[in-house]
């Protein structure tokens, strides 16, 4: 049992088992709301882990990844609008379209780096956001309701537990695939480019194509999160593509622990739980305080980043063999 000698791997397995136990426990104590809450948390965990592939491992600060959540969500939403509820059509198409968008946007953004990369990814995401607003037929800035995907009787996504386990399975697959990827030849190239892209070029890597591929993989996985999100919320609106959403994803990655894949899962959990409960808790301390929860939220995030080196996941010790 290799896992037992690696505290981080062990922590991951335990936390995944805990996540797997959420629906039966919540059903038993009759608190279905938490099943829904954790479904949403896992959806953002998928998106954050995807972002971590290029942000944490590749050093590419994409400030526009919410755009791909939007592409995935709108694919499901628009198909649903035309009566195509078949998930076997919706999901592959969501994958394909987010890959295409990521390839086109990436082909331009990848030519830049540093602050320019941040700004241009942000700009493209905002373009998609305004595109969403301009789609009057699909609700414009009000958005539109969405029917949940049908999987030919295999799954009933209107059953909260089915939806939960679908999302759980995608999250587990994302983490496993991500783990294989970052340790593969391709993953070593991505990490090498973060460390020293001049050196990578000098030893013979066409850096552009590897960066673009990493960006497309990451964006596509975010698109899957988007398709799941449309199912969870039964609704799509441009709001999911707003730049603040992209910023949230970055915060989840950093707070959870960059370059760890699982850290962003913890980051998404901490972020969304605080967003959910901080107002309530504050309201309990002083009436009216709840609406100013952001003033507590921000400093908490900053404290985590400052004092938990390597984010929340860093607290589990046993840093994996690092590379930057």
């Amino acid at each position: 049992m290799q896992a037992l000698r690696q505290p981080r791997l062990l922590a991951q397995l335990i936390l995944l088992l805990l996540l797997a136990a959420v629906p039966p426990v919540m059903t038993a104590i009759d608190e279905p709301f938490y099943t829904s809450l954790f479904t949403r948390i896992m959806i953002f965990a998928i998106a954050a882990a995807s972002l971590d592939l290029i942000l944490g491992y590749g050093g590419m600060v994409s400030f526009g990844h919410a755009a791909y959540i939007g592409v995935g969500a709108y694919t499901v939403g628009i198909l649903s609008f035309y009566g195509v509820d078949n998930g076997f059509i919706q999901f592959p198409l969501a994958v394909l379209l987010s890959a295409v968008f990521a390839a086109v946007i990436g082909a331009i953004c990848i030519r830049t780096s540093g602050v320019y990369f941040i700004m241009i990814t942000l700009a493209f995401a905002q373009m998609l956001y305004f595109l969403g607003i301009s789609l009057e037929e699909y609700g414009g800035d009000d958005g539109m309701p969405v029917y949940r995907s049908e999987f030919g009787g295999l799954l009933d996504l209107y059953d909260a537990n089915h939806l939960y386990y679908l999302v759980f399975a995608v999250l587990a697959a994302t983490l496993y695939f991500g783990h294989r990827l970052v340790n593969s030849r391709f993953g070593m190239v991505v990490r090498g480019m973060k460390s020293n892209s001049l050196r990578m070029r000098a030893v013979g890597y066409p850096v552009y194509w590897y960066r673009l591929t990493a960006y497309v993989i990451s964006g596509t996985m975010c698109g899957v999160a988007g398709a799941l999100f449309a199912n969870w919320s039964e609704f799509v609106s441009p709001d999911i593509m707003h730049w603040v959403r992209s910023g949230d994803l970055i915060i989840m990655v950093i707070v959870g622990g960059m370059g760890t894949l699982f850290g962003p899962v913890l980051g998404a959990t901490a972020f969304l739980l605080m967003e959910e409960y901080l107002p309530e808790i504050l309201e309990g301390t002083a009436p009216g305080a709840g609406e100013h929860w952001h003033f507590v939220f921000g400093p908490i995030l900053i404290l985590i980043v400052l004092f938990a080196k390597g984010g929340i996941f860093g607290l589990f010790g046993g840093r994996e063999r690092g590379d930057d």
Partner: protein
């Protein structure tokens, strides 16, 4: 006469008003160590950067291994057999030494669009990487994170990374820069060991090293090659003595 490995003709590079490479021509023969010397700011690093493809010249042509490579990117030139080391150490500081070299091996072991098998357990990468580390005398340090290696060891590591790409021409930009006496001596031994088996363009400030190692020397002043010849010819060249070497130094 056989065609030179590297032939530079009329190379020009300007930075604003400054001509860093001024109508420079140079040829490097197979198997030789060709030293390029010149005072600080003479344009040596700028020359290497144009040869490696990191910097585009404003004019002139570079032929390598029988073809014009002037328009090729650095990574394309690497695949034709060019490898460089940098004046300012350029490694992957957070990776163990072996990973540094394995990345260089991997770049020349087919494409890297392989997403599944763990690269660190790939003997096809690890073994050649270990051999290259061994060649520069770093085998015992393979597991040390590169940032924790001494300065001299980092410079050796850079040579190992260059060797790992199986180059036909090595471009070494001041491999002894910043080294102590012992470290320099080790590097000179290392370079002597490469002599004959590799064609090398060597930029170096240490004149003792240059005269000990080089088969031919080109002297660069203000971006121009003012002389090329054997070490003996260069020692005897009046223009070179005046422009650069200083009589005392040549002795």
């Amino acid at each position: 006469m056989t065609e030179p490995v590297l032939a530079v003709e009329g190379l020009v590079k300007r930075f604003g008003g400054l001509t860093a490479t001024d109508d420079l021509s140079l040829s490097v023969t197979a198997g030789e160590i060709h030293a390029v010397i010149g005072p600080n700011g003479a344009g040596k690093t700028t020359l290497i950067a144009q040869l490696s493809g990191d910097l585009a010249p404003d004019d002139g042509r570079i032929r390598f291994a029988g073809r014009d490579i002037t328009g090729l990117r650095a990574d394309e030139r690497s695949h034709l057999g060019l490898a460089r080391s940098f004046q300012i150490t350029s490694i992957f500081p957070g990776f163990p030494a072996l990973d540094n070299v394995a990345l260089a091996v991997q770049a020349h072991a087919g494409h890297s669009f392989r997403f599944w098998s763990p690269a660190r357990r790939d003997a096809g990468l690890r073994e050649p990487a270990m051999a290259a580390l061994d060649e520069v005398g770093l085998a015992a340090r393979a597991g040390i994170v590169a940032a924790n290696l001494s300065h001299g060891e980092q410079r050796q590591l850079e040579i190992a990374m260059a060797l790992a790409t199986k180059p036909s021409l090595l471009l070494l930009d001041e491999p002894m820069a910043g080294m102590g006496i012992d470290e320099s001596a080790r590097m000179i031994d290392l370079l002597r060991g490469l002599k004959g088996r590799h064609t090398i363009v060597l930029i170096e400030h240490d004149m003792d090293a240059v005269f000990a190692l080089a088969d031919r020397i080109t002297v660069l002043v203000y971006g121009r090659a003012i002389a090329t010849g054997t070490p003996a010819e260069i020692r005897a060249n009046a223009e070179v003595r005046q422009a650069y070497l200083g009589d005392a130094h040549v002795g």
